[in-house]
């Protein structure tokens, strides 16, 4: 929007307005809240993956000094409704998820009882005094075994572990496979991951008896969706609920849910007449906050010998865990939709089986189904190139749609808005000095070193989405008000939690209105302030929320122009708006500032006849389509033969998210996203043993990437605007996590290729790599 008649904040790497409070310890996260008479809640969780719950003895806990109450499923499951899922597959078998366990527990970490006490330590002490009599039952943790005939049943009353089957079939698959010169097959495991936001979940609920209303402060990405969904759980109507997402310490999808603890805290605040705080421990965060990924698939690619792709057939099993959280079944189906990646296909068939196991639910974790799709197709492209003896870059170029073919209809039925995959690939090759890199590899291999180069050309789906694709609206809401003083208040229904929209939305607003950015304040995260919103997930906030704000501003400018015409005694069409000033054409010296007009609009003594006072507008933006950012990542790795340790020696990423509002923040999103991929590719794996015990419930066993694991990046971008919104922007929150994992995987497997290793499943831990090296090379003396 940095046109000649604006100050040009958009496109500049400005520092964030959020930061002063965050770098001085002055921000307010949910655990920082203290209310008079605050009570603390702690949750007793099942130590068994599957067990009959015979009895719960709470008397010793109740007797502990400072304990206010102990509540079990018998006390709460009738008062609180079941946990909602907004994305059930057609015909899906659904076990009701009560807030606390009833007759059985179904996963380790399943909430069984809660204690409310005067302080947090007493509440936790009391948990140890609750006696639960369990009869352990056989558990099932492997989703493939769960489909076998004699497998234990996660929910015996359903009669099967198969929750749903979802299929997607387009084109003439049989014909495509019949025409193929080669069918390349692969099996891939997408390991289960734990989002691990550094701030665990938590909430404070406060009942206002006089007003019969309730305020819930909760560490969530979706206060507006919580407000929509909570009434069915706690019986308080929507217009008596205020939901506040204060400062939120990371989400990555894990806080895109309504969880049992939030509903219980609300119910008990009302029941006990006192505010209730609950803060999750790290261990609880690992056992009882959603997990991500966990699919296993068999894939077949039909291909001509010149490398022309014809079709993909896939059969995937998605481990959805014991229950459905908000979007659980939608994650593997999104994988299906994005499986064609950047490539033209004549036919596609994907069959997904969603399977219940005695584990925590999976749901949206950064990328949410797209990383699985991109990893699959980009690994397949490298396997196809290797098996057909083709160059992997040429193979990709051969199957890309041309820039002129956009909007491009995919084999899965999506319409990619705009793209130039060739340009991003070329730029990445230039930045990586591709030819030089190949020479470096040849020299390293000659010297017996394991040096690999990996590439991924990705496309993702962002700005979710048009309402027809979503279960409760895919629009976003905004409101802009020019205050009497001329200061500008922007209210967004998107709920940023670290992404920086307080800054980027101020940039957009200041440019469009021609005011200093210091005069703009962006409010978010409180349903009493931002009345409507669909919140932040799926890289949607800037695209949809930002456009809603732009629409508000244009309404305000149009309205201010009417007032200016009246006061300048000019015709409305002759009023010019430039740099925050309105004047009659040819008379710039006789200008009215936006601030003057704002004051006049509220004083309302000199306004046009029948003109509504005030300068405020709100808008809903309904996007016509999703956006489809894309890019190319190139990675070089060197593997230590003796230890299996992998070093990333080069990392180049070229991402195209359309025009960038703040390149510094885009860079931050890309780097942060890549770090998640480094974790997924090299270290992270959520492990349950055969009895359903979680073995990776702390940072000791679930290793997040650390500063030493991060390479120096070379980042670039291309700019291909989206036709789906006026700014042409696309979203960038998940790009790094989607593009990077297959690039790293392809690099590692390229390094191991001379040994004859065709494929390994992630993560590439040193042990796994070391074993693969040992298995494929003759023992050395």
């Amino acid at each position: 929007m940095a046109t000649s008649d604006t100050k040009g904040y958009v496109g500049r790497a400005l520092k964030r307005v959020e930061d002063p409070r965050l770098i001085q310890g002055k921000a307010t996260y949910v655990d920082d809240l203290v209310l008079p008479g605050l009570l603390h809640m702690a949750v007793l969780r099942s130590p068994h993956a599957h067990a009959r719950l015979n009895s719960i003895t709470t008397d010793p806990a109740r007797a502990l000094e400072g304990v206010v109450g102990v509540f079990t499923g018998a006390d709460l499951n009738k008062a609180c409704g079941t946990i909602p899922c907004a994305a059930l597959a057609p015909g899906q078998k659904v076990p009701p998820q009560t807030v606390l366990a009833s007759a059985r527990v179904y996963y380790v970490g399943h909430p069984v009882a809660v204690v409310v006490a005067r302080d947090r330590a007493i509440a936790r002490d009391a948990l140890d005094l609750i006696e639960v009599d369990y009869d352990p039952l056989p558990a099932v943790t492997d989703p493939e075994k769960a489909l076998e005939k004699d497998a234990p049943l996660t929910h015996p009353e359903l009669g099967t572990n198969l929750a749903f089957t979802w299929s997607l079939a387009t084109g003439d698959l049989e014909k495509a496979f019949a025409q193929a010169d080669r069918v390349v097959k692969a099996r891939m495991v997408h390991q289960r991951l734990i989002p691990m936001a550094i701030e665990p979940r938590g909430c404070v609920a406060s009942w206002h008896a006089g007003e019969q209303s309730l305020t819930l402060w909760t560490s969530t990405q979706i206060p507006h969706l919580v407000r929509t969904l909570l009434p069915a759980m706690i019986g308080v109507p929507e217009n008596k609920l205020r939901i506040v997402a204060p400062e939120v310490g990371g989400g990555f999808g894990s806080k895109l849910n309504l969880y049992a603890e939030e509903a219980i805290a609300c119910h008990l605040a009302q029941r006990l007449g006192a505010p209730i705080k609950w803060i999750e421990s790290r261990r609880e965060n690992a056992t009882s906050t959603i997990h991500g990924r966990d699919q296993v698939g068999e894939y077949e690619v039909a291909v001509k010998k010149d490398g022309t792709l014809l079709a993909i057939r896939s059969r995937t099993i998605a481990d959805i865990g014991a229950y459905n959280q908000l979007l659980t079944p939608a994650i593997p189906t999104l994988t299906g939709s994005m499986l064609p990646g950047c490539y033209k296909l004549k036919a596609l068939r994907m069959d997904i089986q969603g399977v219940y196991t005695n584990k925590m639910c999976t749901d949206a974790y950064r990328g949410a189904g797209r990383p699985e799709a991109t990893y699959t197709i980009e690994r397949l492209m490298d396997i196809v190139a290797a098996e057909l003896g083709l160059d992997r870059v040429k193979l990709r170029l051969k199957n890309f749609p041309k820039p002129s073919e956009f909007p491009f209809g995919t084999a899965s039925g999506l319409t990619y808005d705009s793209g130039n995959y060739q340009a991003a690939l070329k730029k990445a090759q230039e930045l990586a000095q591709w030819d030089k890199l190949l020479q470096q590899q040849a020299a390293a291999r000659k010297a017996g070193r394991l040096f690999g180069i990996g590439l991924s050309t990705y496309v993702e789906i962002c700005a979710l989405g048009p309402s027809k694709m979503m279960s409760a609206g895919g629009w976003e809401w905004g409101c802009v008000r020019i205050e009497m003083s001329g200061k500008v208040t922007v209210i967004t229904g998107a709920t940023p939690h670290g992404q920086g929209q307080e800054t980027t939305f101020a940039q957009i607003t200041a440019d469009r209105l021609g005011v200093p950015i210091e005069d703009v304040v962006v409010l978010r995260g409180d349903t009493a302030v931002a009345h409507y919103g669909r919140d932040t997930y799926g890289s949607r906030a800037t695209v949809i929320g930002g456009t809603a704000i732009l629409m508000c501003i244009d309404k305000i400018i149009a309205k201010a122009r009417q007032l200016a015409a009246h006061q300048l005694k000019a015709r409305e069409k002759d009023v010019v708006f430039k740099d925050g000033r309105f004047f009659a054409k040819g008379r710039p010296k006789h200008a009215l500032t936006l601030a003057t007009l704002a004051a006049e609009s509220y004083v309302a003594k000199n306004i046009p006849k029948n003109w509504e006072p005030g300068l405020e507008a709100s808008s809903f933006f309904e996007p016509p389509n999703c956006t489809y950012p894309f890019g190319t990542h190139i990675v070089a790795v060197e593997i230590d033969r003796d230890t299996g340790d992998i070093e990333i020696v080069k990392y180049v990423a070229v991402d195209d998210c359309g025009p960038q509002i703040n390149p510094l923040l885009v860079e931050g999103q890309v780097q942060g996203g890549i770090a998640h991929s480094i974790g997924q590719a090299l270290f992270e794996r959520c492990v349950y043993d055969d009895n359903g015990q979680l073995l990776t419930g702390e940072f000791t066993d679930y290793p997040l990437p650390r500063a030493r694991d991060i390479p120096e990046y070379k980042l670039g971008h291309t700019v291909t605007p989206s036709p789906s919104n006026p700014m042409g922007i696309k979203g960038v929150g998940e790009a790094g996590t989607i593009g990077a994992t297959p690039a790293i995987a392809n690099a590692v497997l390229d390094a191991l290729a001379p040994l004859g290793v065709r494929h390994l499943d992630l993560p590439f831990t040193p042990e796994k790599v070391w074993r693969a090296i040992r298995a494929h090379e003759p023992p050395r003396r």
Binding site: D31, I198, G250, R282, G672, F699, A707
Partner: protein
Amino acid sequence: MKTRVNIKVNGVAQEHDVEPRTLLVQFLRESCRLTGTHVGCETTLCGACTVLLDGQAVKSCTVLAVQADGAAVTTIEGLARDGRLHPIQQGFWECHGLQCGYCTPGMILCAADLLSRNPRPSREDIRHALDGNLCRCTGYSHIIDAVEWAAKKMAKTPSTQ
């Protein structure tokens, strides 16, 4: 049974009666109401609760308040002087060294410990020093930039330390 604990926090004497099992981070957050120090794991692994104890970075979730009796503690609230940001805070702002901000106070204090021992660290030194502090948002690159920025700034104007 409660024990009286005296800790000088950000230059101010703080005297509170606490249970012997009270952690230093609880003393800071609950008794002193200094909530800039965060808890991320309670097991010394994430570093969100890092503070300076007699000038040395410690994870305040695994130090008992009674162990810190008589000591001096610096928290994130104590870094800015007379309304002027500490150079490390400036560096995090300039270089976009934070996103959600939850790990940031711990990161900044860990960096302060590093720069007090090693005023001209290499990027490798910074990576090594921050090894005990987890960030899930930034991917660390901008954090390393931020600490480098601060080191340069402090070298130019030592009085700002």
